[in-house]
C-alpha cells in the first residue's frame, strides 16, 4: 500500500475517522492494528521480524532501566544492539559479505561452499531497526524512561506514517505523543492534509516523471553519451529529493492530522552552501542519528584533527552502508566523507593563511557556493543510482565530459517544470516557515495553493509511478 495510491487514501480515511470516533484509551490499539495492516499489505510474513525486534527492545529497555549495575546495563544494551543488528545483518548484509568472501576465496582458489540466501529484504528494515535502537540507547543513557506499555512501544516502532521510510524518530519526540489525549482540530487537519498534498505533488508529478527519464538513460547507460548522462544525473538528483522529501512530507502531514508531530527530515538541502550544511538539511533524522550514536561516541570533533577526520569518514562510510549492501553505496558515503574532510581542511588552511571569510557573503558568492555544493553532491549521486562500480566510474567519466546531443523525451519538460516549481516552493517554504505558520496566511492563498496542487496531481501525476526509492532501505 503505497502513499501514492487510492488504497492508501481509503485506508487513511478510515483510520482517521476511527481515530477521532474512538475514545483515547483505544486509539493506540487502533493505530497499532492499522499499522500492522499497513505493513502486512507489503509482505505479511515479515511482520514477525518486526515483532522480534519490538519484543527484544521492549524487554531490553525495561531491564536496562531496572538494573542499577552499570555493567549489567551495558550487557543488556549490547545484547539488544547485537540481536537487532543480527536481524538486519541476515536480511540485508549477509549476501553482500558472502559474495565478497566467495570472490576472495575464488581469487585464492579456495573452496567456498556457502550459498547466498534467497530472501527478500523486509521493507523499511533499516528504518525501524534504527528507530528501535535509538530507544534502547536513550534509555541506557538515562535520557528516556523505559516504556512499560507494550502496545505503545510497539506503536512507537510501527507507527504507519513513518514505518517504512522514516523519519527515524527519537523516543523523546514520539513516545509521549502516543500517551497524550488528542482532540479533533479542523485547522490542524487542513494543515496536515496540505503538507501531505505537497509531498504527494513532489512524488507523483516531479519525482515520478523524472524517474521515467532517469530509468530510460541509466538502464542503458553505456548506449548514451556524456551530455545525456549528465542531464539524467541532474534529473536523478531532483528525483531522489522529491521522492524522499515527498514521502517525508506525506508522513508528517498524515501524522499531523492525528496531532502527532514527526520531525522535519528535509530543509531545502540543495540550497546548502557547504557539505556540512547539506548534511544538516538532507535526511536530517538519519544524519542526526549517526551524529548522536556514532560520531559523538567516537569522540566527535573534540579530538585531534586526524582522529576527527577518521571519525567523519567512518560515519559517512557507515551511512552509505546503511543505505545498501553494495560497494556503490559505500563509495557514495565515502565520497561525502572525503568532501567533509576537504571542507574542514580548507577551513584549517584558511585559518593558517589568515584569510578571514566575510561575515555576510554576497549573493554571487552565495550562489557559487550553492552551485559548487550541488555539483559535488551530484557526482556522488551517480554512485547511489548505479548498481555496480564499473558502471559508476564509466558514467562519471563520460558525464564529466558532456558531449553529444541530449536524448530528449517529452516527459523531461514536465520534470524540469516540476523541478523549477519545487525549487521555488522550497525557497519560499524555508524563508517563511510556511508549514508551521499556515494559519497566518490568507484563506484564499491557502485554498489556491491546495487547489493548484490537487489539479497538478490530477492532470500531471504519473499513473502507477515508481515505488518510493527509500523503501528498499
Amino acid at each position: 500500500m503505497l502513499f501514492n495510491s487510492f488504497s492508501f487514501v481509503s485506508f487513511f480515511g478510515v483510520v482517521t475517522l476511527l481515530f477521532f470516533v474512538l475514545p483515547h484509551s483505544l486509539r493506540w490499539l487502533m493505530l497499532l492494528l492499522a499499522s500492522c495492516f499497513f505493513y502486512m499489505s507489503f509482505v505479511p510474513i515479515y511482520i514477525l521480524i518486526l515483532a522480534v525486534t519490538i519484543i527484544i527492545d521492549y524487554g531490553a529497555g525495561i531491564w536496562i532501566e531496572d538494573t542499577f549495575d552499570p555493567s549489567k546495563k551495558k550487557i543488556f544494551l549490547a545484547l539488544s544492539i547485537v540481536s537487532v543488528c543480527a536481524v538486519l545483518f541476515v536480511f540485508k548484509y549477509f549476501n553482500f559479505f558472502n559474495a565478497n568472501v566467495a570472490a576472495l576465496a575464488a581469487a585464492l582458489h579456495w573452496n567456498y561452499p556457502i550459498e547466498a540466501l534467497r530472501i527478500a529484504l523486509p521493507i523499511g528494515l533499516s528504518f525501524h531497526t534504527f528507530q528501535s535502537l535509538s530507544y534502547v540507547i536513550e534509555v541506557y543513557r538515562g535520557r528516556q524512561k523505559a516504556e512499560h506499555h507494550f502496545g505503545i512501544y510497539a506503536l512507537y516502532v510501527m507507527y504507519f506514517p513513518q514505518l517504512v521510510a522514516g523519519p527515524i524518530e527519537r523516543p523523546q519526540n514520539l513516545l509521549h505523543q502516543f500517551h497524550e489525549r488528542k482532540y479533533f482540530d479542523l485547522s490542524r487537519l487542513q494543515d496536515g492534509l496540505s503538507l501531505a498534498l505537497w509531498g504527494l505533488f513532489k512524488k507523483v508529478v516531479v519525482a515520478d516523471s523524472l524517474a521515467i527519464y532517469v530509468d530510460t538513460i541509466y538502464n542503458n547507460s553505456s548506449y548514451h553519451n556524456g551530455a545525456t548522462l549528465l542531464v539524467a544525473t541532474y534529473c536523478f538528483a531532483f528525483q531522489i529529493y522529491c521522492d524522499f522529501s515527498g514521502y517525508s512530507d506525506i508522513a508528517r502531514g498524515v501524522s499531523r492530522v492525528y496531532g502527532i508531530e514527526l520531525m522535519k527530515n528535509f530543509d531545502a538541502p540543495y540550497f546548502s552552501r557547504s557539505i556540512s550544511e547539506f548534511w544538516t538539511r538532507w535526511h536530517i533524522s538519519l544524519s542526526t542519528w549517526f551524529r548522536d550514536y556514532v560520531y559523538i561516541p567516537l569522540g566527535g570533533n573534540r579530538v585531534s584533527s586526524g582522529r576527527n577526520f577518521f571519525n567523519l569518514f567512518t560515519v559517512f562510510v557507515l551511512s552509505g552502508f546503511w543505505h545498501g549492501a553494495n560497494w556503490t553505496f559505500i563509495l557514495w558515503g565515502a565520497l561525502h566523507g572525503i568532501y567533509l574532510i576537504a571542507e574542514r581542511l580548507w577551513g584549517i588552511a584558511r585559518e593558517w593563511l589568515g584569510v578571514v571569510p566575510p561575515v555576510e557573503a554576497g549573493p554571487v558568492r552565495k550562489a557559487l557556493s550553492v552551485l559548487l555544493v550541488f555539483h559535488l553532491v551530484l557526482v556522488a549521486w551517480v554512485f547511489f543510482r548505479v548498481s555496480d562500480m564499473a558502471t559508476a566510474f564509466d558514467v562519471t567519466r563520460r558525464m564529466l565530459v558532456p558531449t553529444g546531443n541530449i536524448f530528449f523525451d517529452p516527459i523531461l519538460v514536465q520534470g524540469v517544470l516540476g523541478v523549477l516549481l519545487v525549487t521555488g516552493g522550497d525557497w519560499l517554504i524555508r524563508r517563511t516557515d510556511y508549514w508551521n505558520n499556515l494559519c497566518r496566511y490568507p484563506v484564499a492563498l491557502r485554498f489556491a495553493t491546495c487547489l493548484a496542487m490537487l489539479f497538478g496531481i490530477s492532470l500531471l501525476g504519473v499513473e502507477k509511478g515508481s515505488q518510493f526509492i527509500y523503501f528498499q532501505f
Binding site: F6, F447, S458, G461
Partner: protein, 312 residues
Amino acid sequence: MKRTAVFLLLTVLLDQGLGSVLGYIQRQTFTGDRGGLLNYALTQEPQILVLGSSRAQFQIMPSVLTEKLGLTAYNAGLKGQDFLYAVMFYDLWKRRHPPTKILVLTIDIESLIPRETEVNTAHLMAPYIDESTLVREILYSDSPFKRFEYLARTYRFNGSVLSLANHAFHRPPNGYDGLTVTPGALDPVTETGVLNALDQDRTAFEMAQVPFSPQKLKYLRALAEETSRNGTRLFLLHTPIFRQDEAAHQVWVDKLRATLAGMPGVQFVDICIATHPELFTRPELYRNLNHLNRAGAEIMTGLLAAETKRRL
C-alpha cells in the same frame, strides 16, 4: 467547517470547469500522440481501417493498401497501445461512421495475454469515457478505485495536458493517412545489446505460454461477431520482429489458431521471419528490433495487400 465545504465545492466546480475546457481543446486538436492523433483518426472514414500498436502505426502503409486494393485506407495504430486500445477505438469509431470494408488489427505475442500496464496506457481513451460502456468497462478494470478517479473530469486528461498545450488546435497536413515514417536502419549489434540491457520481465517463450486473457478473448469474440454481422472483414496481422524467437512464435501461432477456430470470419495473416525468412532476416529493412523502416514497411504492406486480396 464552512470553509471546508466551500473548498470542496470549489474543487468540484473547478474540476468540472477545467475538465470541460480541456475536453473542448481536445476535440479541436488533431495532432500529438497523447490524444490528438486518436481524435483525428476518429474523424476518418476509410474503407480499410488499420488498428493496433506502433507495429501498426509505423509499419502499415495506407497508400500501398490503396494502390494495391483500390480502397481508401487509414492507419489508426498508436505507439504504446495494443489490443485494448484497438477494441475501444473501434467501439467509438463505429458510433460515428458506417461499417468499414476491412479492419486490420495488428497482434503480437503479448497482445492477448493479461498485461498490467496495458489498461494504464489505454488511459488515453479517458476523455471518451462518457461515450461508451466498453471504454468505461476497460478503464474501470484497472483497479476498484478507477470508477471514483474518473469522476474527476480533469483526471481524464492526466498525462495529456502538456501534449495538448503543445498541439492545441493543430491539424495534420492534407492527405495524412496515420502512418508514421520511421527512417534509419538497424545496427544488430547495438540493438541486441539494448534489448539485453532492458529489464524484460518475461521472455518471448514465457509470454507465448501464458494463457490468453478471458477479458481480451471476450472483446475479440465480440469484435468478430460485430464485424461478421455488418460485413466487415477482420484481419489479425502479425508483423516481423528481427531475431524472432521461432519456438515461441510457433507455440503462440498454434494457440492463436486454436482460439480463432471458434471465431468464424476472423482471418489471421502472419508475415514474419517464419513465413518470409528470405525477406525479414535482412537488417536493412528494420529501423529497430521491433519496427521495420520505410523500405521494410513497404514490402510488408505489399505482402499484406496481396494476402488480403487473395482472401477477399
